[in-house]
């Protein structure tokens, strides 16, 4: 049972106001469709708020801007300036425990570890893990079953590497990173087979990076593939060799980034998009789903389309495309 007043005091920076009527607590957080009387539900726009008001849940987190719509309801409300961030904080505080990391520190008997590897005694190494020469694994790390870590890899503290992952040579992984199942970080890129240079490159993941399952980050022949602090990569993403992602980037599922591309801070891109090799994208750019970024983006803003164009132009061109049959008839009539 969680009291609404506890939420107010704990997250004072996010909660603008609370309105408590007959219920001053909740027991779980549910989507509006599955809510029961003791649930807290979350509505960040008018459409969802209307649904929330009709559902059995008695506690609603919503945006302070929608306060007027709640005046006639007898439910309890928590008004926030960023409601989704408040729900995230509530979930992190009351409902989430990192189950994987509760494994006690140990090294499985079936793991194969080179003598020169240094593994901190507080870390967990799962079954059938293979660890190469001169690998350093710092405190409180978790390495899941069947993962392969090649030579000279450095893994900083509090990092989780789930099962079936591959970590290639010389990869540097920062603190508190999460690499989800079956991802491949530091694997050889195609460029190794088209260049005569020695293999000296590496992949660098800074602190708090998250890599989704089946995502692949290639290592270049020289220099490095760089993923900045707090950047998050979804599942099935492909980051080619030599790419540079600055901090706080969000890369969603199925995106492919060509080699040596550079993405600025706070870059966000929708699913199944592709970024051409050697492209440079400035800070604070947002691209929609299935975008083909074939040239540099030098101004911050929203973009979309194949090829990429500012979002307003893209939406306008989509409308024009629908008029093609009409245009065709006119041209035929005039011919």
């Amino acid at each position: 049972m969680i009291l609404i007043n506890d939420i107010k005091s704990k997250f004072a920076d996010l909660v603008q106001e609370v309105s408590i009527t007959n219920k001053d607590f909740f027991e779980n957080v549910e989507p509006i469709s599955d809510a029961c009387e003791n649930s807290l539900v979350f509505a960040n726009n008018q459409k969802f708020l209307e649904q929330a008001l009709d559902c059995p849940a008695q506690v609603i987190v919503t945006n302070i801007k929608l306060k007027e719509l709640c005046a006639s309801s007898n439910k309890s409300f928590v008004f926030a300036n960023i409601p989704d961030l408040l729900v995230t904080k509530i979930l992190q505080t009351y409902f989430y425990s990192k189950k994987i990391k509760q494994q006690s520190a140990s090294i499985a008997k079936s793991a194969t570890i080179e003598e020169s590897a240094k593994i901190h005694s507080s870390s967990y190494i799962g079954e059938s893990v293979v660890i190469g020469k001169n690998v350093v694994i710092e405190e409180n790390c978790f390495v899941g079953a069947n993962t392969v870590i090649e030579d000279e890899v450095t893994i900083s503290k509090d990092t989780e590497i789930h099962s079936q992952c591959f970590i290639g040579k010389r990869t540097e992984i920062g603190e508190a990173c999460i690499l989800r199942a079956a991802c491949s970080v530091g694997s050889l890129s195609m460029l190794h087979f088209t260049s005569s240079e020695d293999d000296r490159g590496k992949v660098v993941l800074k602190n708090f990076v998250e890599v989704g399952s089946q995502t692949c980050i290639d290592r270049p022949t020289k220099s490095e593939t760089y993923i900045g602090e707090s950047s998050k990569l979804d599942n099935l993403v492909k980051i080619s060799a030599g790419s540079y992602l600055d901090s706080f980037c969000l890369i969603t599922a199925g995106v492919q980034i060509g080699h040596n591309a550079r993405c600025g801070k706070y870059f966000t891109i929708g699913g199944n998009s592709f970024i051409e090799p050697n492209t440079v994208i400035t800070d604070q750019v947002l691209c929609g789903g299935m975008t083909f970024v074939d040239k540099d983006i030098t101004e911050k803003g929203q973009y979309g389309g194949i090829p990429v164009q500012p979002m307003k132009d893209y939406l306008r061109s989509m409308v024009s495309l629908a008029q093609i049959p009409k245009l065709r008839k006119i041209l035929k009539a005039n011919a």
Binding site: S163, A182, S213, F248, N272, G289, L321, A322
Partner: protein, 221 residues
């Protein structure tokens, strides 16, 4: 654990996971705590099933699939930093579902991501958190969908389709390949193209695009 189940000696199965009768669990499969695998289900090599996820009876999960990884849920603060939203739900795969190689299905933020009975999902697909797919869906490979979308029963999606989040797609929806589903679909039918048009309308647009190279446009254009 029931008899007649074949489990590879290289598979890692948590002691609290439940494996039904007649299952096949391939090499290097990992099944985490509390996961449930129904009878006669076949799980191929290198697949990973995260904690508390449920796979029904007579299912097929291809090699290198990942079931129940955390959804891509982040809330942005006032300066744009991303804060991970804990994903406390599960994945629920109903009976007779076939999931092909290299597919990943995210666990829900709350409640469950659901794949309906007798559905088939092609390889290299990504099913995001909170997705509900109805019965008898046929999804060809390369499908990527954002979170919280609801699909009806008997849908069929072509190769490499994309779908935005938080929408509803009607029963009986069918699409060609490379379709972007960017809005609610209330009417069943056969759709195509990147504008999500009915197939016959899109064919006219596509014909126009192909023909446009030969058009004698006015000089000012």
């Amino acid at each position: 654990m029931s008899k007649e189940t074949l489990i590879s000696k290289f598979a890692q199965i948590h002691e609290s996971a439940q494996i039904g009768e007649g299952c096949f669990i391939g090499d290097f499969v990992s099944i985490e705590a509390g996961a449930i695998v129904g009878e006669q289900t076949r799980i191929e090599a290198f697949t990973h099933i995260y904690q508390n996820c449920e796979v029904g009876r007579n299912c097929y999960i291809g090699p290198h699939c990942v079931i129940g990884t955390d959804g891509f849920g982040y809330a942005q603060d006032h300066i744009g930093r991303s804060h991970f939203t804990p994903q406390i739900g599960i994945v629920k795969i109903e009976n007779d579902v076939k999931i092909m190689a290299h597919t990943s299905i995210d666990r829900a933020a709350f409640s469950s991501t659901t794949i309906g009975k007798s559905s088939i999902i092609g390889g290299h697909s990504h099913i995001a958190h909170n997705i509900k797919i109805g019965k008898n869906a046929t999804i060809w490979p390369g499908f990527v969908v954002a979170g919280s979308t609801k699909f009806g029963d008997n849908i069929e999606l072509g190769y490499r389709c994309n779908c935005v989040g938080h929408i509803e797609v009607a029963d009986g929806f069918k699409s060609e390949s490379m379709v972007i589903i960017n809005n609610n679909v209330k009417e069943p039918g056969h759709y195509a193209g990147k504008l999500l048009m009915k197939k016959n309308q899109w064919e006219e647009v596509a014909e126009g695009i192909r023909e446009s190279a030969k058009w004698n446009l006015p000089e000012e254009i």
